[in-house]
Symmetry: C2
Subunit: 600 residues, 2 copies
């Protein structure tokens, strides 16, 4: 594999120059670690990714899982990748040492996993879902369930899924109809059908642990009557031995445009005597628990979308440097040699746009992981609570912005390659297809917009929102003192002000008429994301100015110049598009809202 998965210099910059990851070493939990250990971990992940995941990315796409009536078959490389991932310890890397983990900080774990996603997002889904399911069990399940299910999930014998969606309910979780009946022995019998369950069946592991949302008989309607159950594909006895098949059947495989090597399944629970399920935590509080896994998955989707965009950018950059075609407009001599296409202004524009999207998105996702870390291990309660509030506010942005602009980056990468971009003999079109799932799964853009505007912004008297405003203003003040960044600081401040005024107006509208007030929530999400990423870019620019001052080689200077140019591009080309959006929002534009069904 010649094209790099990501960019190690960029990751180094993000971890140690943008984010102060090294300061984690001062926290008691990470006292035994060092920057060398962090970097060795990343190297190890990169090696696993290159050797065991990248090798079958195209093959898994062309030979998707199939069901022979009894078993689901995956290409054998998938199992080798799963084993390599487990053997390298990444299923448990973030767990405590006493659990057999490495006590790795979240931001290092997620960076490590980013390499794996960049190599093969479809095969990466199996371990990633397993980590999320295991985390859910660790947080909320009884000691008995933990003892039976966690060890095999952390060492790779069992895998995990999240089973929320049903055929008739989609995003509206409150309407789910899967039922749970107490069996009298403490367990429940689960009955119902779940759809779009990734990793819902396969032959990678001895068992699959489904984390299932269901309604205990007699539970209240809506989201307050949902409970969480652990439903293994195969029953497990007290000693952890895998026994007979539970009443969980594969009703069908779905065939997706991307992520093809991740099975997407329809699962039937309890077509016979009922599937044995174990209640996790308290009854009727399941959705609250599941939000832990959903939020983790949402940040994971943002990261997956980011690195697919990043892979596309790396390919497009290589192609643009090596493909000679045409001459500059100023060249009149038809006999002069052709120039590499990177010398064409429009190609540089397309590459710079991709760089701005994918490096901006990666910075955003790693910042999210640092907040995730801080909410648990930051010194002082205020630091932890601030991090939690910021992460809560930003989760819909972290899920949706990289998803939308990751696809845009892949779209532009295809455009750089021209015809080669849409030919399956090149990797771009698969990246584009893979990435197109990300603005939908784990909550569509529309759902994220509602979440941001109706829940996250107003939460706790706009507390998280005010924290973010303060953090952005802080960066603006710093940047204003740096003459080369003063213009960008001013542009961000102006748009932030417009966002703030718009937000306060919308808060009023939400009270007066929630249907109308939320009608343009997706537009708000996009404008909000644009401001957040402009902020992240301004922070990168500040770090790059610091780096440039101390740089001692052309390579280093070029790297920082590239960061500064991308930040400038984002400020000049992307941020101003928030202007017309915020105007529409602030005026309460109702043209789409008032469109009637009969007029279509």
């Amino acid at each position: 594999m010649d094209t790099p998965l990501l960019n190690e210099r960029d990751i180094d910059f993000l971890l140690y120059e943008l984010l102060d990851t090294e300061s984690l070493l001062q926290r008691p939990r990470y006292r035994e670690h060092s920057r060398e250990i962090f970097n060795a971990t990343l190297q190890s992940a990169r090696t696993v990714a290159e050797k065991h995941f990248a090798n079958h990315n195209a093959k898994g796409d062309a030979n998707e899982p199939h069901f022979d009536g009894e078993r689901v078959h995956l290409i054998p490389e998938t199992k080798q990748a799963w084993d390599a991932f487990a053997e390298a310890g990444f299923l448990a890397a973030h767990c405590d040492e006493e659990e057999g983990g490495l006590q790795l900080p979240e931001v290092i774990l997620r960076t490590a996993l980013a390499y794996v996603s960049a190599a093969n997002v479809a095969s990466a889904a199996y371990p990633f879902l397993t980590i999320g399911a295991a985390n859910l069990i660790r947080s909320f399940a009884s000691d008995d369930l933990k003892a039976r299910f966690l060890p095999p999930m952390l060492d790779g014998r069992f895998s995990g899924t999240m089973a929320l969606t049903e055929p008739d309910q989609g995003s509206a979780l409150g309407d789910l109809r899967t039922t749970a009946t107490a069996a009298g022995d403490g367990s429940y019998r689960i009955r119902g059908q779940k759809m779009y369950i990734s990793g819902g069946d396969h032959s990678l592991t001895d068992n699959i642990v489904h984390m299932v949302l269901a309604r205990i008989e007699g539970a209240p309607a809506g989201v307050r009557g949902i409970s969480l159950f652990l439903v293994p594909r195969n029953l497990v006895d007290d000693k952890g031995n895998v026994g007979e098949r539970n009443d969980v059947q594969l009703a069908g495989l779905l065939h997706k445009m991307g992520y093809r090597n991740t099975t997407s399944t329809v699962l039937s629970f309890g077509e016979g005597d009922g599937a044995v399920g174990y209640l996790v935590g308290e009854p009727h509080r399941g959705l609250g628990y599941m939000f832990q896994m959903m939020n983790e998955a949402r940040i994971g989707v943002g990261m997956g979308a980011t690195v697919l965009g990043y892979q596309g950018y790396n390919h497009a950059l290589e192609y643009a440097r090596s493909r000679p075609q045409g001459r500059l407009p100023s060249s009149r001599d038809a006999r002069s040699p052709q120039v590499p296409i990177i010398r064409h202004g429009d190609v540089r524009r397309m590459l710079l746009a991709q760089k701005a999207y994918v490096e901006g998105a990666l910075a955003l996702c790693l910042y999210a992981s640092s907040l995730h870390e801080d909410q648990r291990t930051a010194p002082g309660a205020e630091g932890r609570s601030n991090a939690a509030q910021l992460l809560d506010l930003l989760t819909p942005v972290i899920k949706s912005w990289p998803s939308r602009y990751g696809v845009v980056a892949n779209d532009i990468a295809i455009q750089v390659l021209g015809g080669a971009g849409y030919i399956r003999e090149y990797p771009l079109e698969q990246l584009y297809r893979d990435n197109r799932l990300n603005p939908i799964h784990e909550g569509t853009e529309g759902i994220q917009g509602l979440d941001l505007l109706a829940r996250k912004v107003p939460a706790e008297g706009l507390a998280g929102y005010q924290l973010l405003q303060g953090a952005i203003r802080q960066t603006v003040m710093e940047a204003r003192d740096c003459s080369s960044l003063a213009g960008q600081a001013g542009a961000l401040e102006k748009t932030l002000q417009q966002l703030d005024e718009t937000t306060l107006k919308l808060m009023g509208q939400l009270q007066a008429d929630p249907d109308r007030g939320l009608a343009n929530a997706t537009l708000y999400l996009d404008a909000f994301g644009r401001v957040v990423v402009a902020w992240i870019w301004l922070r990168q620019a500040l770090a790059a100015e610091r780096g440039l001052a101390d740089a001692d080689s052309d390579t280093e200077r070029h790297f920082y110049r590239g960061k500064l140019q991308a930040a400038r591009y984002f400020s000049e080309w992307e941020l101003p598009q928030a202007g017309p959006q915020l105007t529409l929002l602030s005026e309460g534009n109702s043209t789409p809202y008032e469109m009637e069904d009969a007029w279509f």
Copy 2:
């Protein structure tokens, strides 16, 4: 097939209320026609499309052409579709009656073909390319070539291709290296390799007529040394009998993300004794001739992109009306029934955006066909020359705007369906993949931007550009008198003014520094297209206001209300995005231009 291919009411509106298609009946060429004949022709096309093209759209995608070492195999439905199309007379419908044609006006022909593309854009490519190749022969070839090749191309025994691109040259046609050597008998021997040749091999017809660009030995370098040759796959004797295979070999099939049932080939000409080719027209003037077919193909790509977007919109609309999910934000009762998703504000926004894109694009494409008609049959030389200048100016917009926003429409349609949008069991993801080729083939967006800014706008002292400005101002004046449209008129006028100022600045920059002046040409193309489509929408709004005044049923009133709401949406949501774009252009923003290779 339940989902309509297009929307007959919309087409009726565009042909007879927006464009004055009925006035064609007063032109001598169409004196024998009637509106009934036009409509019967469209019905006939719709029937062929529904019966013979839509039936294998998904099947052709899933079972793409393959080469067994001797022949290229297509699924048999492709041949049945070809035959049905030829039997219905559409290969020759626009030709003179004395040639065996129907003397159908261009705008009716293209509307008819739009149904076929909407049903199956991949299988439609074979007849569409044949029509273009036959038109090229009709315009420029000798009587002998016409006599031998046109009749079988018009009745469906032979098909045609355009063979321009080569592996090492891509968009830079001036660098093509295929050679032509005079054989002494009036024919030439062609040697070279051509790539991305759609329909370059298949088993639909007795013969394939390749229209090949090549360089006669000793010809000048660059675009001024290119000649056009007719190179049949099989030789044809004086009596029109198909003889032995010419020295044209299939070097390989390319596998695309979309349009899969259109073969995309690498062809080797003259690996043996040289492929027999016949010069079309004068030596070294081939590129000029080929532009006739390229322009026709570019408008065809715009239309193909439009109707793929339209199909997606029709599917999304049906889905949104029939899929219940969730409740409105104002509804607090978890036991109340779910609502169809069209009742959610964000879904209506997504549907209205699609409607604005696809109906705007269809109006643009049919307007283009009316210009194509007028340049040949308008009464008076000035009418013909004005139409020719406008069409010439607008061709890059007609190619690229529907291509870009057709993909956006399909992207939004996927979003409306959620998970079902990316599952291959539903038609959306294929439409999206098919459509993704359109911003590339027949000239990328970058190429269209350069064409617009460097050639089409400045052509003949900005003559076509001034004509367009005048036409838009005329519409603005009309709309200003209509109180409900005065706001839209003002918005368009303001942006038009900004575009005009920007254009004049750019004309100066082009002189001073062409590389820098053209660096943002793609952005100019997008802003220019936004203004043009806003104009087309304002014209539709004017026609809708007229229709609304006379409407005598709710159905009619709803139709016009929908047009008016979409026009308003475009004016309020889409047009203002040109503001920041024109600011960047007018300031001569050079951030991407100044990005250095080493900084990436």
